[in-house]
């Protein structure tokens, strides 16, 4: 049954890819969707992993568990179309969850949802800036998991729209509002998303024109590092004095042109304006992209307390997180020149976070003069630190045959924060240890990746333990405890 589902889901995507009509309507998934959604869960904690697996299965998703990021990555690489969405913990011993997030964004462009027991603004912000399409705070309720399929649909939809638009002659075509808002839980969010989308439409068209006029322009992908350098340069100069030529000089990235920087700067400015509240920057400040709705920045005030409770209470994810992923900008379009990663930052999103302190949020929002308004619930990332980043705009198609790695992430400034395409280094490293554990917990129909994660799991446990330096001792004998608990004998003795 599951195999069938898998195939059908795959078929649907294929169908969708050939028929643009399917994507105009909201129905672009099979009837049984979201059942059968293929989820990859990555968490080093066995208890959490077990719970998540159970919950996801209860949602009728097809679950693959993984307790090592490396294994997850290689599973994804080996089976690019094998998963619809990834859930990953932030703190893992072998690889930082954010790193994994970056890789996935670069290479597979799957929606990734981060998880953590930490609800600190800093870590959630990191999720935002690294391109997570959502951030769940542990303990994760099943209600939150029931909604994750939205991210998948939205992403595909955006990719298709983009391909459609870049391929078709209809420039100013505004897709109907309904298809955007179908997943939204709050009307206030809709307004914002619409604005973001509208601007993106305009921007997209502008970009396309640039592209077609100078086809020989090298494609620039604004990676994390590149954007960081950019921001550093801008901050050094001061936003008011940051001219593309000077920025370019400061950045010192060979191959980058003044035009690239100018374009990026434009978007960055828009982003900053959004953050600081448009009250400071009236609509007509010479920026053609700033629409009146933007200027009013209505959504902020209209969101005051209004739907927050609804959002949180219902455990629903805010849809705006997806504006973030609104990857119309170059995420999957082979044509777009400069990846408008900065635009991702403009989107607002909130998290399924019942621990958020509303009062705090509201207060900081009231201060119109502060550039650092924090309103996580509205999801506008505000801290303009160099670390802020732009999600990598990775076109799925041209790169599908490569395993792109952010080789330059080690911070070598001059050789380019421009993405280099290299052969994967991590792939195929099998951890050839014998495995005994976790068999019952993995879904039966996942053979290879399951095996890998089992194997890795075993190894991870050992490695993880010794990394702590404290030797958590032996791997816990899961079979024993399970068997014991099943048989009704006291499973507690061995503890």
């Amino acid at each position: 049954m599951r195999g069938e589902l898998n195939l059908s889901c795959g078929k649907v995507s294929l169908l969708a890819s050939t028929s643009s009509c399917a994507w105009k309507s909201a129905e672009m998934v099979p009837d049984w969707f979201p059942a059968g959604l293929r989820v990859l869960v990555v968490d080093d904690d066995p208890t959490c992993l077990m719970i998540l697996e159970k919950m996801l299965k209860t949602c009728q998703y097809e679950v693959t568990t993984c307790n090592r990021a490396e294994i997850a990555l290689s599973s994804l690489r080996n089976n690019r179309n094998g998963f619809d969405v990834v859930l990953s913990d932030v703190h893992m011993p072998d690889m930082d969850g954010f790193k994994l997030l970056e890789y996935i964004g670069l290479e597979m462009d799957l929606p990734v949802i981060m998880m953590s027991v930490d609800d600190g603004k800093h870590v959630v912000m990191k999720g935002v800036t690294h391109g997570a399409c959502d951030f769940l705070i542990k303990p994760i309720r099943i209600e939150a998991l029931k909604n994750i399929w939205q991210h998948v649909v939205r992403k595909r939809k955006n990719e298709w729209k983009e391909l459609e638009q870049s391929g078709s002659a209809e420039d100013g075509d505004q897709l109907p509002k309904h298809s955007e808002d179908v997943d939204y839980s709050s009307t206030a969010n809709e307004g914002t998303w619409k604005n973001v989308k509208r601007r993106k439409d305009e921007d997209e068209d502008g970009e396309e024109r640039d592209d077609t006029s100078t086809l020989k322009k090298p494609r620039v992908v604004w990676s994390v590092e590149l954007h960081q350098q950019f921001v550093v340069a801008v901050n050094q100069l001061g936003i008011d004095k940051a001219f593309p030529k000077k920025i370019l000089e400061l950045m010192n990235v060979p191959g980058l042109t003044r035009e690239n920087v100018a374009s990026h700067l434009q978007k960055y400015r828009l982003y900053l304006r959004r953050l600081s509240g448009v009250s400071q920057h009236p609509a007509g400040v010479g920026n053609p992209f700033l629409s009146p709705q933007e200027a009013a920045f209505g959504p902020i005030s209209s969101l005051n307390g209004l739907d927050l409770q609804a959002l949180v209470a219902s455990g629903q994810l805010s849809t705006q997180s997806l504006a973030f992923q609104a990857s119309r900008f170059g995420r999957s379009s082979p044509k777009s020149g400069i990846s408008v990663s900065v635009l991702d930052q403009r989107s607002m999103f909130s998290f399924d976070n019942s621990n958020l302190r509303f009062g705090e949020m509201q207060q900081s929002q009231q201060n119109p003069n502060s550039n650092k308004q924090t309103n996580l619930l509205h999801g506008i990332p505000t801290n303009m630190e160099p670390k802020q980043l732009a999600t990598l705009q990775q076109s799925a198609k041209p790169f599908s045959s490569f395993n792109v790695q952010v080789v330059v992430s080690q911070g070598a400034p001059s050789n380019g924060s421009l993405i280099q395409i290299t052969q994967p280094q991590l792939r195929g490293q099998k951890l050839g240890e014998s495995s005994t554990s976790h068999v019952p917990r993995l879904p039966a129909n996942v053979s290879q990746s399951a095996l890998q994660s089992q194997v890795a799991g075993e190894v991870m446990l050992r490695n993880g333990m010794t990394e702590n330096g404290r030797g958590l001792g032996q791997n816990h004998p899961p079979q024993t405890s399970l068997a014991a608990s099943y048989s009704g004998a006291t499973p507690w003795k061995s503890l």
Binding site: T47, I140, I142, G469
Partner: protein, 165 residues
């Protein structure tokens, strides 16, 4: 310390099933709503998922606690690693709904942030105690039937508290 009403209830034998005990456990904060949610994840394959995963948690948490302890034994204390170790325990405790344990972990993390080794050591004692108490409660809890058998009348006080499943 609060009187242990769950135990005295057990002894007094008015707790005949998990329903009753759960109420007490929730009231006393041993577990929270997350645990209750886990209990609802049952199916034919896995009739007592909550027990399964609780067993795993109790076992794993022992290791995490040992880990925490070892970091505290270092001289000087490595607070960065200690915090990581605490974070691990916090994650699983939150996920299983081990409320009191999680609260203790948070307490320790705060002390850890203050680099207060002595207070951390004291807090560790509390943490260990909470964990053991939870283990105890859970042992009792999972031996109770999910719902009291219809034949036993609700109000009677029978001598045997925990009826075997």
């Amino acid at each position: 310390m609060k009187p242990d009403s769950a135990d005295s209830a057990m002894e007094g034998s008015s707790v005949q099933d998990r329903v009753a005990m759960r109420k007490i456990l929730l009231e006393e904060g041993y577990v929270d709503i997350q645990f209750v949610q886990l209990e609802q994840l049952v199916d034919n394959e896995c009739p007592d998922f909550a027990q399964e995963v609780m067993v795993m948690y109790i076992e794993d948490s022992a290791k995490f606690v040992r880990n925490i302890e070892r970091w505290l034994e270092e001289v000087p204390v490595n607070f960065v690693e200690l915090d990581k170790a605490l974070h691990q325990l916090k994650g699983s405790s939150a996920s299983i709904g081990a409320n009191r344990v999680r609260i203790q972990v948070n307490r320790m993390r705060d002390l850890c942030k203050e680099n207060n080794a002595e207070s951390c050591k004291e807090a560790l004692k509390d943490l260990k105690r909470e964990r053991l108490e939870l283990k105890d409660k859970m042992e009792n809890y999972f031996q109770l039937p999910k719902v009291a058998a219809p034949s036993s009348s609700a109000g009677t006080q029978s001598i045997t508290g925990g009826v075997a499943p």
